[in-house]
């Protein structure tokens, strides 16, 4: 009998696929809604603020920043980047925004509102309104404002507070953040009611919010299990499974069940000590946006025993907070969302790190998930996801003696990521990681 030599790649969770499929389904849903004459909304990552409201009002949301990745992967992005360039948008601007602006120019100016035939996944229909936010980067709301050049659609901009670390703990500060969120949401509901011509079903919103909280609680617990050695879930599965929780995709009761199923599968792996890679030689953290089009790169690293056990804070569900005593669903949403923005501030204060902007949580991750190294991926046209990385690298080294490897790329110009060059750096980095394992031992750290 001849036994085949099996390649050591990443062991994907069976329960990941149903979650991943919800992403494609949500685009389809958007197109179906358009065909049925129902409104769709173009949204930005809004950290659970606007999504539950729109979900409860049965409005489909598509996310141009996610679509940007599809444009890049399909090779169509360049055409739209050229459009944006020709229209005078400076070339250093966020690649996703330029691709989307170019898409809008093509759809509205050239094709008079028809979806471009070359657009992948059936394209994105003209929206009823644009739901922006101020989270993480200026582009998020300036981009939607700039779309006004091509589409006369209203723009809503959500506030996302980002106080200083010590400033957050001043008397009354947190309460004022909650008030901001609740009032913002109230106005948003009124805005949606006016645009949609119907009233919010508050019972439905209650239910939607509870489902959102529960989905993310389960998802949070799944990720906690990745602290196990060996880690049962690779980042590739995280990235595939995260969108339904982050963007509230799919029919939520079903989505919840999918995560519960995943929880069971992961628990089982933990009990059996089954890791996501066959031989976990190194535990890695990844920050920030992965090279969506080249995820096979991680399989090659997996062959070398690199297990990616944790990744970008911004994609992760917030730490669960007991909100059962909070009656107002808008307040529950706000408190839940604030956990994302400032939930880690207490630890940051204790650890005396003032760099919020999601740099500090990565330090917590490296420590709690016991990482041997960090793979940092700066993107030339996404400064928000890149500028804190040098700081993160020095923070990890200074505080935890965890080394970082930097590999450049881009969100739309995919030629910038060179997997061969990156693989060439992997081997010497393994030596670096070995070296720092020894250093950490000497310093009394327990991994």
């Amino acid at each position: 009998m001849v036994t085949e030599q099996k390649k050591k790649t990443i062991s994907r969770l069976k329960t990941m696929y149903s979650l991943r499929n919800k992403v494609d389904e949500s685009y389809k849903k958007g197109l179906e809604a358009m065909k049925a004459g129902k409104p769709t909304v173009w949204g930005m990552l809004n950290a659970y603020f606007g999504d539950p409201v729109l979900k409860a009002m049965d409005v489909e949301v598509v996310y141009p920043e996610n679509y940007g990745a599809a444009l890049a992967a399909s090779g169509v992005a360049q055409k739209y980047l050229d459009c944006a360039d020709a229209d005078g948008f400076p070339t250093h601007l966020c690649g996703y925004s330029r691709a989307n602006l170019g898409y809008a120019a093509r759809m509205m100016k050239e094709l008079e509102g028809e979806i471009p035939p070359e657009a992948p996944m059936g394209g994105m229909p003209k929206p009823l309104f644009l739901m922006g936010s101020t989270i993480i980067c200026d582009a998020r709301y300036k981009w939607f404002q700039a779309l006004g050049r091509y589409m006369d659609v209203p723009v809503w901009t959500f506030e996302s507070p980002i106080p200083g670390v010590k400033e957050r703990f001043m008397e009354g500060s947190y309460e004022r953040m909650i008030e901001l969120g609740v009032k913002n949401l109230k106005e948003f509901v009124a805005f949606c009611e006016r645009l949609l011509g119907r009233k919010m079903d508050w019972g439905k919103l209650d239910e939607t919010v509870d489902l959102m909280i529960e989905i993310n609680r389960v998802w949070h617990d799944i990720n906690e299990m990745r602290k196990a050695r060996p880690c049962p879930v690779h980042s590739r599965d995280f990235w595939s499974a995260m969108p339904p929780a982050l963007f509230l995709m799919g029919e939520l009761k079903d989505t919840l069940q999918c995560y519960r199923n995943m929880y069971d599968e992961v628990k089982d792996r933990v009990n059996r000590r089954a890791g996501a890679v066959e031989e976990e030689r190194y535990r890695l953290m990844f920050a920030e946006l992965p090279p969506w089009h080249s995820l096979g790169f991680f399989d090659r690293l997996a062959e070398r025993g690199w297990n990616f056990v944790i990744e970008s804070y911004g994609y992760h569900p917030p730490r669960p907070v007991d909100l059962s005593g909070v009656k107002d669903p808008l307040e529950r949403i706000t408190r839940f969302s604030l956990e994302v923005f400032v939930g880690f501030y207490k630890s940051a204060l204790e650890d005396n790190v003032s760099a919020a902007s999601f740099a500090y949580p990565l330090m917590g991750y490296a420590r709690d998930w016991k990482c041997d190294g960090a793979l940092l991926h700066p993107l030339i046209s996404c400064r928000s996801a890149s500028t804190h990385l040098p700081y993160v690298a020095s923070l990890l080294m200074e505080r935890l003696k965890v080394p970082s490897l930097t590999v450049e790329g881009d969100i739309v110009d995919l030629r910038l990521f060179d997997p061969e060059a990156a693989m060439a750096k992997a081997e010497p980095f393994e030596e670096t990681m070995e070296h720092y394992k020894r250093i950490r031992k000497q310093e009394g750290l327990d991994w």
Partner: protein, 389 residues
Amino acid sequence: MAKNATGLDRAREIYQDRSRRARELKAEGRKIIGYPCAYVPVEIITALDLVPYRIYADIEEPVTEADRALPAAFCPVMRSCLDCALKGKDDFLDGVVATHSCDPQEKTARVWESHTGYPYFHFIDIPGTIRPEAVEYYEGQLSDFKKTLEIFAGRKLSQARLKEAVQLHNQQRSLVRALYELTKPEPPLISGTEILQVIKSLLSLPVAEGNALISQAIDEVKARRNGPGKKPARLLTWGATMDDADIMDIFEAGANVVMDESCGGIRPFRTDVKLTQDPLNGLSRYYLKDISCARTFREAALGETTKNYAADIESRFGYLKAIVRDWKVNGAILILVRFCDPFAFEVPSLRDYFDSFGLPSTYVEYDYTKGSLAPLRTRVEAFLETIIR
């Protein structure tokens, strides 16, 4: 250097050595609070008897230290500010106040705070919109800023003192507006370069001294006969910051710059803070709503459910049309440093707006190094060649 230089001469002097007065005051026992952005409410600093000092970047200083914390693809202005701080160039400061005006400032502030050891550091969060709940939240942020500054200054701030400070700073605003009145004649009585030097200087002085400086400058300019010569174009410059006289020189080689819509020009001074019962009200409204910086999301009507592009750009940029009319501007230069996102997104829309009433405009970009000024010259000259017959 003449100790008794006044007006324009004093401005030129200070421009060459900005921190001199602040260092003198510090030696006398005063406390100096630095701030890198027009969004910081200087009235609160003045009212507590502290000296506000506007931190500028330095185009002549090659960035070396900031490399370990901020990558090269980053707003060069904030990067330069951090670089200077890390090199100890602003070691005379007792504290720094930074804001969430834009991403680069927000991100730089964190590193700035953790890598330097000022006795005082405060970060003011600024919401992105001007909705009523945003203004409320922002007022809370200003109140928090006031609290920590009170602790640092060792005294409580009375409303009366704050009102006085508001009036003093409003006086400064009104004086700068009066200075810009002097560019209305043809030829203008004062050049864009001179105004830039005056503004940069007055922001390095305590407010009363700054007011005296502008008053002197205004009197001088009105009395003198050797003002700038008439050039064939009258320009409006628009951008985020404008802090280097060499750049103004490039524009003014072939034109008169009669209005500079930037933080080194009219922007921090265009309107006054409304004096309200609780001065913090007026301050929060002014700083959030009245500073015409691209970082704030504005729309024709709050929460509007219909949208019209022409109405939208009119509501956002309409004040510029009045300027163009009143200052008889015949060309606009949109000038940005590379990586300035909030303003960069506005460029096509602003140019659409200028097109709508026939004002020629051009967009130029530079990377905030002396070397990038030569290509800038070619573009500016070429633009002037298209508008001048």
